[in-house]
Symmetry: C4
Subunit: 130 residues, 4 copies
C-alpha cells in the first residue's frame, strides 16, 4: 500500500531543464521552441491519481509553457516569477498547506531558496520509479 501520510500535498516545479532538456531553441524570425517529453504526461496522471496538484513556477514567460500546462491539465501556472519562494508560499496559504508539504523540483540558481525550504526534495522521474 501507498502511504498517503508521507506524500507531498503539492508538487511545485521549474520548467527549463526539468520538464525540458534545457534547450532554448531560437529561430531567425523571433520564434522559440522547447522540447518536452511525452513521459511527463504519465507522470502528471500518476500524481493526479494520488490527488496531488502540480504547480509550474518559471522565470520565463512563454506561450510554449502555457500550452504544455494546458495539454497536461496542470493545476497552477506561474510564469515570469522572480521570487519563486514567495509564489509558492502564497499558494500554500491559498490552498491551506504548509511549505514543508511541498515537493519542489528545480535545477537552477533561482531554485535554491525553494529547494532549501521544502520538506521534499525529488525529481519527477524519481516519483515515477517508486
Amino acid at each position: 500500500m501507498w502511504n498517503k501520510k508521507k506524500l507531498p500535498k503539492l508538487i511545485a516545479t521549474d520548467i527549463d531543464g526539468v520538464w525540458t532538456d534545457g534547450g532554448m531553441y531560437y529561430d531567425q524570425l523571433g520564434n522559440e521552441f522547447k522540447r518536452f517529453n511525452t513521459s511527463d504526461s504519465a507522470g502528471v496522471l500518476f500524481c493526479h491519481s494520488l490527488n496531488i496538484p502540480i504547480a509550474i513556477i518559471t522565470g520565463e514567460n512563454t506561450e510554449i509553457v502555457s500550452r504544455r500546462a494546458e495539454k497536461l491539465n496542470i493545476d497552477y501556472l506561474f510564469q515570469g516569477c522572480t521570487d519563486k519562494l514567495l509564489v509558492v508560499a502564497n499558494l500554500c496559504k491559498e490552498i491551506n498547506i504548509d511549505l514543508s508539504d511541498v515537493a519542489y523540483i528545480g535545477d537552477d540558481i533561482n531554485d535554491i531558496a525553494l529547494l532549501k525550504k521544502q520538506g521534499f526534495l525529488l525529481r519527477l522521474k524519481m516519483l515515477l520509479i517508486m
Copy 2:
C-alpha cells in the same frame, strides 16, 4: 533462411518514444514538432519485404504522424486512441489474424494492456538487427 512461421503477421506500434526520441517540441505559435529517425524507413521496407503490415496506434492526434505514416507507406494509422487493445483487437478481426500474431511496440503506461496480450514483444530496432 528466414523462418516465416515464427514471424508476426502484424506489427502494431506506438509513436512517441518509439518512433521518436520522446520529445514534444512546442513553439510560441501553436505549432508542434516530432523528431523521427531516417533509419525507420529501412525498417518499414524490411517488414514490407516480408509482407508484414504495420499499424500505428497513438493516443495523440497530429498532422505530424499522418505525414510520417504517408511518407513511409504505413498500412494502418489509428490516432487519438484511448483503448489501444480494442483498436488492435478490431483490426485483427478485420484482417483475420489472432492477437497472438501481433508484435506490439510500445513504451508508455497505456501500452501495457497490449504488451501483455501480444504474442511478440520486441522493438523495431531489434527486428532490424536480426
Copy 3:
C-alpha cells in the same frame, strides 16, 4: 607530409545520419527540419584545401539539403537518387576518375552497393582526425 597519392579524388556522401543525427523533424504544417553540425564546415574546408571535391548523393529531395550544400560550397549535389552507385559511376566518368578513387560515406541500406565498390571506406569525422 600528406601523401597525396593515397588520398581519394572525390568524396561522395549520404546526408541523413551522416551529415545529420538521423533526425527527421516534422511539424504540423508540412515543414521539415534537419540538424546539421557546425563542425562539417571545417571538414569541407579541409577537403577543399586538398583539392578534393565533395558530392552529396541522397534519396531524399529537400530544400534543406540544397541550402546546406550551397552554404558549404559543396561541389556536386544529387537529390532524389534511387541508384546511388549509378550516380557516382556517371560522375566519375564525367570528371575522369575511377570508382576506386572515391571515398563514399553512407550509413543506410541503399548505401551498401556503393560502399562495397569503392576504394575508400571512411567517415568524414575520421578524415578530420587524421
Copy 4:
C-alpha cells in the same frame, strides 16, 4: 574568497558548439534554428556579478544570435567575423585591457589563433563549477 587578481577581464566566446550543441537546424523555407541552453543564463549572471564583461565573436551572422545576446544582456556582439583575433585585439584596445586578460572560449579551427594568444583557456561550464 575569490581572487580577483586571477580573473579574466573579458570573456570572449564563440557561439556554435560552445553556446549551442553544434547543431545547425535548417528547415524547408529558409529558416534556421540554434539550440541554446538555459544554464548559460546563470553563467552570464555569474560573470556579470564579478564585473566581467562578455563578448560574443562568431563567423556566422544570424538574428538567432542577436536575440540570444540581447536576452542574456551580453556586453559585446561581433558577427560575421573572419579574423577573430583582430576583433578581440581591437576590443582590448578599446576597453584598455591586454590580450592576456582575455579568457577565450572556442571549439573550431578559426578559434585556434585566439586560443593560442590568450592568457586563459577555459569553457564557460568550467567557470560555473568553480
